[in-house]
């Protein structure tokens, strides 16, 4: 086993990090203190860095990720760029040499206290280098500059000083990368391959967990992974570590065995046929979004509302479903789409409808030694579909309630409907009573307002800091009312007002 090594800003550095050291802590320990810890849970982006990821077989894409969540060891053999690597500060007797992103940020007042700035610079640089950026016509509802810069690229970065306007101006002022820009050139070659890494804390002189025998292993292929998982079924599977990293940083969990699965080719396929699409469990959400290219419109509604770009560049469907959180945003959508999970173990594979997958709070039918290999979505998708996420903040928040609806109409009647809900029970659930109340009935205001009242009674919403139970319940009801308002092909919305008749029409009578 060759020693662990990470290339940072073009220079290979040996990495002696233990199995519980984040990429951020390792970088800072190396004296690269540009990346900062702001929240340690992937919410603020002060720790953002660029990593080289595959863009097809022979190209590389610069991707921004939070460095506070993934383990340093997960970057064995990989290439990382920090704010320090993009440009040089003024030194005694020398002028600064700034990257175009840094230049715009500095000149336009994009930094005040400067603490979040290196993270913003990295997230902005990733978008600067996004190959599709220049040629992209902003689509409807997109928040884009004339230069194609997608503001959502910065949705995971918080600034407490500027109010964001100068940062947006800096982003929208960016031109195209110089062809000789080394990071632009780097895109034309293949991304660094995954390395089979195997590290035990007991081998390290300066372990981060005294007396620990914790291990970090990146298996070579799926059979290797399944064999190891069978042997150590309590091993923690880690892809983007967007949940495991939070557990480690905030709740101090220190798993004794970590299996890294993010580079396993068998988990990274996306295959489609006329009647289904199969998505590898270790593809990141950003990769899925690009590869699907609009084939499943409901997922396209989901992606921009799912955490932030920094998180979507690391998070996977396998992780989102594997942790089984009742407030994960993917599950309601996949429930509405009628998805099936492909579970793999050393024994073989089985397919489980997502409807049957969750068994309780963060529990599922997945047995020890088993993992989610892929998610299968039947095609064609229903023509009417929507994902409604209710949260305090539009960018990068956790749902108070999430509702996904997938509907087929035939001659004005509801032929079929599936409704997936998040945030209203110990698991993501389907709104079965509401579905029954709609199916076979005319898609009109009367049916809908009755069904909406049923929907308000689904699940067992709680009061917490995100929302009251009463509000959650009301949002369930409202979501169906809105869906009806937005999917009434034969009847335009009422143009005006609040006379009593329209009020009843739009809102239902007995609210």
């Amino acid at each position: 086993m060759s020693p662990t090594e990470i290339t940072v800003n073009g220079t290979a550095r040996p990495c002696a990090a233990g199995p519980h050291t984040s990429l951020l802590d390792w970088l800072r320990g190396e004296g690269l203190t540009g990346a900062k810890e702001g929240c340690a849970e992937g919410e603020c982006g002060a720790c953002a860095v660029l990593v080289a990821r595959p863009d097809g077989a022979d190209r590389t894409r610069w991707v921004s990720v939070n460095a506070c969540l993934p383990l340093a060891l997960a970057f064995d053999g990989q290439e990382v760029v920090t704010a320090e690597g993009l440009g040089a500060p003024p030194a005694p007797g020398q002028q600064a040499v700034l990257h175009p992103v840094q230049r715009e940020m500095a000149d336009r007042g994009g930094s005040q206290c400067g603490y979040c700035t290196p993270g913003f610079v990295c997230a902005m640089a990733a978008e600067f280098y996004r190959p599709e950026r220049g040629g992209q016509a902003p689509h409807e509802g997109a928040e884009c500059g004339a230069n194609g810069f997608d503001l959502h690229a910065l949705s995971g970065n918080l600034c407490r000083c500027t109010g964001y306007r100068p940062i947006r101006d800096a982003a929208y002022a960016l031109g195209e990368p110089d062809p000789l820009d080394p990071l632009a050139e780097r895109r034309d070659r293949a991304a660094p391959p995954a390395r089979a890494t195997e590290v035990s804390a007991s081998d390290l002189s300066a372990s981060d967990l005294p007396g620990s025998d914790a291990t970090f292993v990146r298996p070579t292929d799926l059979p290797d992974l399944l064999t190891r998982l069978a042997a150590t079924p309590d091993a923690v599977l880690v892809a983007g570590a967007t949940d495991a990293g939070v557990e480690r940083n905030l709740r101090h969990t220190r798993p004794s065995s970590v299996l890294a699965i993010d580079h396993l080719e068998e988990l990274r396929g996306l295959h489609h046929s006329p009647d289904s699409v199969e998505i590898g469990a270790a593809l990141t959400l950003s990769e899925i979004e690009r590869a699907l290219a609009g084939r499943v419109p409901l997922l396209d509604q989901l992606f921009p509302q799912f955490a932030s770009r920094l998180i979507r560049n690391a998070a996977t469907l396998g992780g989102n479903l594997g942790t089984g959180s009742p407030i994960g945003d993917a599950a309601p959508v996949l429930l509405a789409l009628g998805a099936t999970l492909v579970l793999a173990s050393a024994e073989g594979e089985r397919a489980v409808p997502l409807d049957d997958y969750f068994t309780g709070y963060r529990r599922s039918v997945r047995v020890p030694g088993e993992l989610i290999r892929a998610v299968r979505i039947p095609l064609p998708a229903a023509p009417h579909a929507a994902f409604y996420k209710v949260a305090k903040r539009r960018f990068d928040d956790i749902s108070s309630v999430a509702v996904a609806i997938s509907l087929r109409l035939e001659r004005g009647m509801v032929a079929s409907v599936r409704i997936g809900l998040g945030g209203v029970a110990a698991t993501p659930i389907r709104a079965l009573a509401t579905e029954a109340g709609l199916t076979g009935r005319p898609w009109d205001a009367d049916t809908v307002s009755r069904a909406a009242r049923t929907l308000a009674q689904e699940g067992t919403p709680l009061d917490d800091h995100r929302a009251s139970a009463r509000y959650r319940s009301a949002m369930l009801e409202q979501s169906l009312m809105r869906f009806h308002a937005e999917h009434r092909p034969t009847k335009p919305l009422q143009k005006d007002g609040f006379d009593q008749r329209n009020h009843s029409e739009n809102w239902g009578e007995a609210r």
């Binding site: 800072r28 900062k36 704010a83 230049r103 700035t117 949705s155 407490r160 308002a485």
Partner: protein
């Protein structure tokens, strides 16, 4: 001496933040970045109590010492000086009595952070739980107060209310705010080669950090030096809170002989450090027929948390800002501080001013429909006029600027046209409504605590002509250092590149005031300018002799010294002055003149001047969810003659968005149940406490600096800018109120909880759609279920006597009747609204009397 500006002064130029190139390359160092440059550092982790109120009955540290890598556990027994980290001697550093959930009872030092963390988990503490007070309601019921209670009053409020044609009363409870500086609290302490205790601290108040460290260690101030390189945001949260953490680090360093690092992670920072004070207000207000304020009586109760900290000063500023921009003839503002078992609430940008002002802005927003007036018009009618004074007796100098900024911002925002456009939009969209509002700001500048209005600087001119400046202020992102370089460059007639600034240290400039109260530029700018002018005066004499002219004729321009038609390079003059044995360095000093304040009677002139501003904001509310988007904000703000426009605009925009966060999004919650978690901050993280992100920035945001606004009393005609813009955010909350109103019948009184989260807005929309009157009791009950941190009620009382009701008998009908409508333009919104249908059964504009 005073010298005229050189022809192209550096002040007023648009320049980037002086550290911008360091920020963007990741090369700017913050306190915790220094750890890797320091050897043998020990890391500290606190043991936080899991009770809101309890006595520590036993503390066993041995189990921690058995954890590999744990070096020492710091407890109260280790303190050589005073076990106290407050300025009021009410904050034990190592408490025997736990006063809030998360209170640190001891600290573990380890070779690694992980070892310290494991050590902290191993410490065994036994607690005897005690009864706790968590909510403001509980505190008021149990009369759990601390500190002094103060009243600002003028005239006869009883007579004023009786005189009023229209009277309302209500209550309003609103939330606090977490600072959420991106850099959490940090300190790194060591005993240096000369034997002094040297503390690097992320502090807004290095002198006080120095004093508390000395106090805890039993040392004198000259044995302790505190340095602050820069902060990753402060916002008031690093005015008091760093002291105890610096003291822990310093104590560890003295006891172990090794550098000790204390850095709170986000959870610790949010559970251990103070926040903006939540407030409760009860009020009675009276207006005349035309909507002019006659009288206001209010009682403000702030939630001070477990100790006093700055709560008295915060309350004082709140009481001095209830009036905001409005003349209140008869006034009586009472204030008191609740003691609760929570973090000790502290300074936060605005320092109570925002809380005081919110009370009256909320009143005006709620009462405007009763007059059939556009709220902007109601506000305009009540603006201070020249010659009027505040209820605490300070003449409102430049009061005409209030009208000026309001006029300019409404013109720039094209308010009239947009009212019409919004009415049309609202008529066409049943599920989405837009609202627009304009609010003014008047904010007093100077510390209410008069002694703090002084500052020092130390300016060195080296023999080669290079200049190094030091001053007592700290840099937290607000651009103070940028401005100070510009002031020095201007005063010395040098290009900006000729001035270098050294980090803030207590051994360079002693006895500094906190960098707070928006006063950093005024005070330190005055001191820097003073030092530079001393040097310049001496150099002018040397130059005069050399050039054959008088000192008064010598000019310093862009690095050249001009006189008698000749030019002399600055560096040559400096060299010559040195050889002539002229002192090339100077200590500068500044104090704000003309202040006087009686903090007991709450009368006097505590402020040097007022900063003015106004904003127009437009929002859109989604009727399905209560979610909203901020469409456009226009701001006109008075910064005097701007020292540094890019910096000032940055402060205005940033302050505004931070204020928007406080009023709409940032929902600070505590566990108020009787369960085990009672008193715990239930939003202790970035995932549970949401601050504004890109999605909360208005799609269009323009800031215009008021022109011809020279302020004679401050450095180079400038005005302070740090805090006042935060309160421009009232325009957003009032715009939300307008949008909510558009869901209901014309004239509907909108009561809006604060923070006005999407959920709060949704319930307000529901009330509007139902045409729900302000039925006090019922509405209060609803809110108690849905949003325990916020409740607001309003009732309208018919005056028993006075101009309004010659024939009024107190019947509801007379209340419901719209008051006189003044001028065609004033009921524009009314006209644009679809009238409630006759058979809707909805009540009229103003709610039932309860």
């Amino acid at each position: 001496m005073s010298t005229p500006l050189s022809p192209q002064p550096s002040v007023g130029q648009t320049v980037s933040h002086e550290s911008a190139e360091l920020h963007v390359t990741g090369a700017a160092h913050y306190t915790d970045d220094l750890v890797g440059r320091t050897t043998s550092v020990l890391h500290a982790w606190p043991v936080q109590a899991p009770h809101a109120h309890a006595r520590v009955t036993a503390l066993a540290t041995d189990p921690a010492l058995r954890v590999p890598g744990v070096v020492r556990v710091l407890t109260g027994a280790d303190v050589p000086g005073a076990n106290d980290s407050g300025v009021r001697e009410d904050e034990p550093l190592f408490p025997d009595e736990v006063m809030y959930h998360g209170h640190a009872v001891c600290w573990v030092l380890g070779e690694t952070l992980e070892a310290a963390r494991l050590g902290a988990e191993a410490v065994e503490v036994t607690y005897a739980s005690l009864p706790s007070v968590i909510t403001l309601t509980e505190a008021i019921e149990q009369e759990s107060f601390q500190g002094s209670q103060r009243t600002v009053s003028r005239g006869d409020v009883v007579a004023g209310l009786e005189r009023a044609a229209h009277r309302f009363s209500g209550e309003f409870e609103f939330g606090g705010q977490e600072h959420f500086y991106l850099e959490t609290q940090a300190a790194l302490a060591s005993v240096d080669e000369a034997g002094q205790v040297f503390v690097q601290s992320s502090t807004q108040h290095p002198t006080e950090t120095q004093e508390i460290v000395a106090h805890v260690l039993g040392l004198r101030s000259h044995e302790v030096t505190v340095q602050c390189l820069r902060m990753g945001g402060g916002f008031g949260g690093k005015e008091m809170q760093p002291h105890g953490l610096a003291a822990v680090a310093a104590l560890g360093a003295v006891l172990t002989g090794r550098p000790v690092r204390v850095r709170l992670n986000r959870t610790q920072d949010m559970t251990m450090t103070g926040k903006r004070h939540p407030f409760h207000a009860s009020w009675e207000v009276g207006f005349d027929q035309e909507g002019h304020l006659e009288a206001l009586r209010t009682t403000l109760t702030s939630d001070g948390g477990w100790s006093l900290d700055l709560s008295e000063a915060v309350l004082g500023r709140a009481l001095c800002h209830v009036d905001n921009a409005y003349y209140v003839p008869d006034a009586e503002f009472h204030g008191r501080i609740a003691q609760t078992h929570k973090t000790s609430q502290t300074a936060f940008r605005g320092f109570g001013g925002p809380q005081g002002m919110l009370v009256l802005e909320d009143i005006l927003g709620r009462c405007a429909p009763a007059f059939g007036l556009d709220p902007t018009e109601l506000r305009r009618r009540n603006l201070y006029q020249p010659g009027q004074s505040t209820p605490y007796g300070q003449p409102v100098r430049h009061a005409e600027r209030l009208e000026a900024v309001l006029e300019e911002v409404t013109t720039r925002a094209d308010l009239t046209t947009r009212h019409t456009e919004i009415a049309a939009f609202n008529a066409a969209h049943p599920h989405r409504k837009r609202g627009i509002a304009c609010t003014p700001v008047k904010f007093g500048i100077s510390f209410n605590f008069t002694a703090f209005n002084q500052a020092g600087a130390l300016v060195h001119v080296y023999k080669d002509g290079s200049v190094l400046i030091n001053h007592g202020g700290t840099e937290m992102g607000q651009g103070l250092h940028t401005k100070m370089r510009q002031v020095a460059a201007t005063a010395l007639g040098l290009p900006l590149s000729g001035i270098r600034l050294a980090p803030t240290r207590t051994d360079k400039v002693p006895n500094t005031s906190a960098t707070a109260a928006s006063s950093g530029s005024d005070l330190n700018g005055g001191a820097v300018k003073d030092a530079c002018e001393q040097i310049r005066g001496r150099l002018a004499a040397v130059a005069a002799e050399r050039l054959g002219t008088s000192s008064a004729e010598v000019q310093f321009v862009e690095g050249s010294v001009l006189g008698a038609g000749q030019a002399l390079p600055w560096s040559e003059l400096v060299r010559e002055a040195y050889l002539a044995r002229v002192q090339l360095f100077a200590a500068g000093y500044y104090r704000t003149e003309g202040l006087h304040w009686d903090g007991v009677r709450m009368q006097g002139e505590p402020f040097k001047y007022f900063a003015y501003g106004a904003a127009v904001s437009e929002v859109e509310v989604d009727g399905f969810t209560g979610a909203y988007t901020f469409l456009r904000t226009d701001i006109v703000h008075d910064v005097g003659d701007s020292l540094s426009p890019l910096v000032d605009i940055g402060q205005i925009e940033g302050g505004f968005v931070q204020g928007v966060g406080w009023l709409t999004l940032e929902d600070l919650r505590w566990d108020t149940s009787d369960g085990e978690g009672r008193g715990r901050v239930s939003t202790p993280s970035a995932s549970t406490y949401k601050l504004p992100s890109f999605s909360e920035m208005p799609r269009e945001l323009t800031v215009h600096l008021l022109e011809h606004a020279t302020e004679d009393g401050a450095v180079y005609g400038s005005k302070a800018v740090g805090e006042p813009p935060l309160m421009l955010a009232f325009s957003v909350r009032e715009a939300l109120r307008q949008a909510v109103a558009a869901f209901g019948p014309a004239g509907h009184v909108v009561e809006l909880a604060c923070p006005s989260t999407p959920e709060a807005v949704f319930w307000a929309v529901e009330a509007a759609r139902a045409g729900a009157p302000g039925n006090t009791r019922e509405y209060a009950d609803q809110l108690a279920v849905s949003a325990p941190t916020a409740a607001s009620v309003v009732t309208d009382e018919v005056a028993q006597a006075g101009a309004w009701s010659s024939g009024a008998t107190g019947s509801q009908d007379s209340v419901l009747e719209p008051v006189v409508v003044l001028g065609a333009g004033d009921n524009r919104l009314q006209d644009a609204e679809p009238a409630p249908s006759a058979d809707s059964g909805r009540p009229g504009p103003v709610g039932d009397v309860d």
